[in-house]
């Protein structure tokens, strides 16, 4: 009798595995960077006269790094959520504009200089933010996507919750939905804000 139950148990286990598998998004690849220091970088910001930005400047506060681009349609879907999040003032959002200029040639087929691409990216990004609203405390320009590579970006949008000591604590692949924000990101940020800074960092 007990032996006869084994196929049923095996079957139910299989169903459970498949059910979990169905719910999982194959595009969500777990990041190896969770609980690791956020890769450092120095990038130009959208405000041309503004200083360059580096994650070290955010040490001591919990912040959200949002990777986006004006050409990214899901990012536009995400934008109102980010605006709302920024208005609530829970934590600063740093925008990382990822590969804004998708071509490295101009209309005449000439290779664009890095500085030209940077200024093109700056103009396009600034215009977009002016038109749609700017949820970002700072917006940095990752024109060639090299910094994105260090963060393991493989699509936009992506968002990273970074704690006071500069560790990446959570990564959201895809659009920040109201559910993700209220159920995961906000509680996590609130929790992280209560974490004390290590003594050496606090000074």
């Amino acid at each position: 009798m007990r032996l006869a139950l084994i196929p049923l148990i095996v079957f139910l286990a299989l169903v459970a595995f498949l059910a979990v598998g169905l719910k999982r998004d194959p595009h969500e690849i777990p990041s190896p960077l969770i609980d690791r220091p956020a890769p450092t970088f120095v990038l130009e910001t959208v405000g041309a006269e503004g200083p360059r930005f580096s994650p070290e400047q955010m040490k001591g506060q919990v912040w959200l790094l949002n990777v986006w681009a004006t050409w990214c349609l899901p990012c536009q879907q995400e934008h109102p959520m980010l605006m709302q999040f920024a208005q609530q003032g829970l934590a600063p959002v740093v925008g990382m504009n990822y590969k804004e200029i998708q071509t490295d040639q101009d209309e005449a087929g000439q290779t664009l200089a890095a500085s030209t691409r940077l200024s093109m990216a700056r103009t396009k990004t600034a215009a977009w933010l002016k038109k749609h609203g700017n949820p970002y405390a700072v917006t940095v320009l990752d024109v060639d996507g090299r910094v994105g590579m260090d963060y393991g970006v493989y699509g936009v949008p992506e968002s990273y919750v970074i704690d006071k000591t500069g560790l990446i604590r959570y990564k959201v692949v895809g659009v920040l939905t109201p559910e993700i924000l209220t159920e995961t990101v906000r509680p996590l940020i609130e929790k992280l804000q209560h974490e004390p800074l290590p003594k050496s960092e606090a000074s």
Binding site: P30, P32, K99, G155
Partner: protein, 172 residues
Amino acid sequence: MKMGRTFLRPWGGSWCAVVWLALALTCACPVQAKEAIPLGDEPWVEARMVHISEELRCLVCQNETLASSRADLAKDLRDEVRGLIRQGKTDAEIKAYLVARYGDFVLYRPEVKPTTWALWWGPAALLGLGLGLAWLALRARRAKPTVPPAPMALSDEAQRLVDAVLQDRDGI
């Protein structure tokens, strides 16, 4: 010279066609340009890049290798791999570089380590478990003695009837 020119003249029409065809093909090229991995100036870098990228998964089109994918990110990553090759990095170092950023998922053949044991040995373990269970079940079945069906006990009434019938038959 003159002969040559006159000789060539009858070809004019078909040369024209060839030129048109060539033009048409060049026009078609930009559409297809993304398919071919542009070969750099250094064939040894390209050869190693392709060799390494064939072992790596493109994160955007997940069933393609980094070598064959046309996704933008794949192109960037191939450039990155080229750069690392030029820096003199070993294959293992280059793979480690990508794993540090994108996780084990980029490897088509994940490393054997505690977190991937289930992946590597799971199927064999399940097969072993199944064979073991089957063997146990078969052995249990074989070990069970085959008991002849116990003689059925008859009620007194039934026994009397049977006796009567048997007596009748004997009497015949």
